[in-house]
Symmetry: C2
DNA sequence: GTGAGGCCCTAATACGTATAAGGACCTAAG
DNA sequence: CTTAGGTCCTTATACGTATTAGGGCCTCAC
């Protein structure tokens, strides 16, 4: 008798039938009028045999398992320390703890090339969980559409408006936060502002969203932004920085933390003083990073937590299937915005 | 007809029986001698109806659900970046990907005080997975004993010899690595060596294991170690370091990365040159840390991966239930061991 | 003493899958 | 003509769960 005890085993041990066990287990004993004595027998047997409901059986039947799936379109734990997913996971786990749910990290969906696919492995593994939180930088709209069409409950982290599909998501309020940045620069007296963007496709979606929000907002507030300078962080040269410092541009908006790190090093080397010679603001600096530069930050932890709450709301049917949640960014902090020189 | 197609639907569409569909799907058509024409009909219907196998049904049938539990006696994702668990998780995930398994992080087992307990919630939630990998700094021997007695398959990460229970574990070969350190110090010409240990209970088990291994090994190799200096990293003062540098002691073995960081800062302040004035070796420096100090490192990634492999071996019955695995540490690297001044 | 109604439980079933056992049909050998 | 053997498929079953329908037994009222 090596196999895990099932409801039938409990029933046998308690001298009653399997459905009764199920009823007691699910707290519907009163509703069905099960004698207290019987309930005790059942619970005692469960404890004694170490019963735990079977995931497969439950989800086959259509019930809940207390499992929240987490699917990422790339590896969950990249090697580097500045990990895109980590903070999201922290938030997800925190809320899961609070709500008494466990998490399933889908590792089995990874293909040989390192990307992950919901349907790639031939089966939709996500179904083992009650619902899933999905995150990823790649655009995999077709898989999401299919998932939505199957009626599987999920929440995407990040803005993801897909035509023709109701996909609930939790996104950061970039626009609001960037308005705050623009306001701060403007009221410090800046008019010509440079924009340093990340070249390449690494996190293209979010980057472009920031960029657009910035340019729209700057225009409305009377700022004159330079055309965006796009480069990889290794490509940031002293010559470029000297040129900026010598130009009319008095402040720099930086799109990504890699560029901020590179800029910090270059500025130090070139003797460009921040913020005396050049004001600097970074959009989305991770918590562990860089000097105390002015920045806003995507509230990853908070977004993770909200995603869990939203998913549970979905599962309980308390929330419509096309609900979006926009989470305010962490407010602008730091001290590298000064009046122009 | 909103629901996803099942094998029965395929069968109906192709005008045959459900088991035939299953047989074709699993590539056993030849074995069962299914006519090519029938196979084509089946495959065509699958494509047309968009069939995707149902995991729940499968794992219900197979007895396994492809879920590997990960239980930690503390939070999985602490807030700090120098995260004790992170590297283990990386290894676990890597191997899980390779073996096509998914991971369950047990968040529901957390008690209000932040600690986690296997049996705290009344039932052993771990049972939901096929088996589990358990890690944690606290000693919770009683829960492990109970788990072992219940016959639940698990692997502990870290040395954990519990009298009267077969608990498989994966541990680092501290002794071997520390012998390497002692050998290096000795052959560089050192005889008097200091030992800087971490005070407090934070990671007591592993720390003490290192300490004992060092003192035993040093004795055998003819080194004269000072009595260990135990302190919290904040308590490391310039005065202490000056005293060491002025004494007969020519090398320092450091137990934990926090102390290494603190020592680096203090040495810089005090003008103590490493390794010219003092040789330094750290036991277990995380990958992302500090100057290029000489150190050995606990092979966390590797240990995580081995734990997964060991657990699957256990599940397949290919491995006895009392198997221990000792993983060699990453070899000594760095350049802060020099001849004594 | 018959019916109503409450109490407490069981039998039957369905979900999707995989496999063992079995059966129908045909061909070829004796 | 019978039988052995091959080919190709089906029937039956089991896995663990939750729910619907139903049934036995007791008590009380008429």
């Amino acid at each position: 008798m090596r196999r895990r005890p099932s409801q039938r085993d409990i029933a046998r041990a308690a001298g009653i039938s399997q459905p009764t066990v199920s009823i007691v287990l699910n707290g519907r004993a009163d509703e069905y009028g099960i004698a207290l004595e019987t309930q005790d027998k059942v619970r005692e047997a469960m404890r004694r045999l170490g019963y735990v409901p079977d995931v497969a059986g439950r989800s086959l039947r259509g019930g809940r398992n207390g499992l929240i799936g987490v699917h990422t379109f790339e590896r969950v734990f990249p090697v580097g320390p500045d990990d895109y997913y980590h903070e999201f996971l922290v938030g997800i786990e925190e809320k899961a703890v609070e709500m008494g749910q466990d998490l399933v990290l889908f590792a089995s969906t990874q293909r040989p090339d390192g990307t992950r696919s919901i349907y790639g492995a031939g089966t939709n593994r996500l179904r083992l969980a009650d619902g899933a939180i999905i995150l990823g930088l790649e655009r995999n709209d077709d898989e999401l559409v299919r998932l939505a069409r199957e009626g599987f409950p999920f929440v995407f982290i990040g803005r993801r408006d897909i035509p023709g599909a109701h996909t609930p998501y939790v996104a950061a309020d970039y626009a609001g936060a960037i308005a705050e940045v623009v306001e701060a620069l403007s009221s410090a007296g800046h008019t010509r502002v440079g924009y340093l963007g990340l070249d390449g496709t690494l996190r293209r979606g979010p980057q472009e969203e920031r960029r657009e929000a910035f340019y729209q907002c700057a225009g409305r507030r009377g700022l004159e932004p330079d055309r965006p300078a796009l480069m990889a962080s290794e490509a940031l040269t002293g010559a470029w920085l000297r040129e900026v410092a010598a130009s009319e541009t008095t402040a720099l908006v930086i799109e990504a933390f890699e560029l901020a790190d590179a800029l910090a090093a270059t500025a130090l080397r070139e003797g460009v003083r921040v913020p005396d010679d050049l004001s600097v603001v970074c959009l989305d600096l991770p918590p562990v990073s860089s000097p105390g530069w002015s920045h806003i930050a995507v509230p990853r932890r908070d977004m993770g937590a909200r995603a869990v709450a939203l998913l549970l709301g979905l599962l309980d049917g308390e929330v419509p299937a096309d609900r979006h949640e926009i989470v305010p960014c962490d407010p602008l902090t730091g001290d590298t915005i000064a009046p122009p020189r």
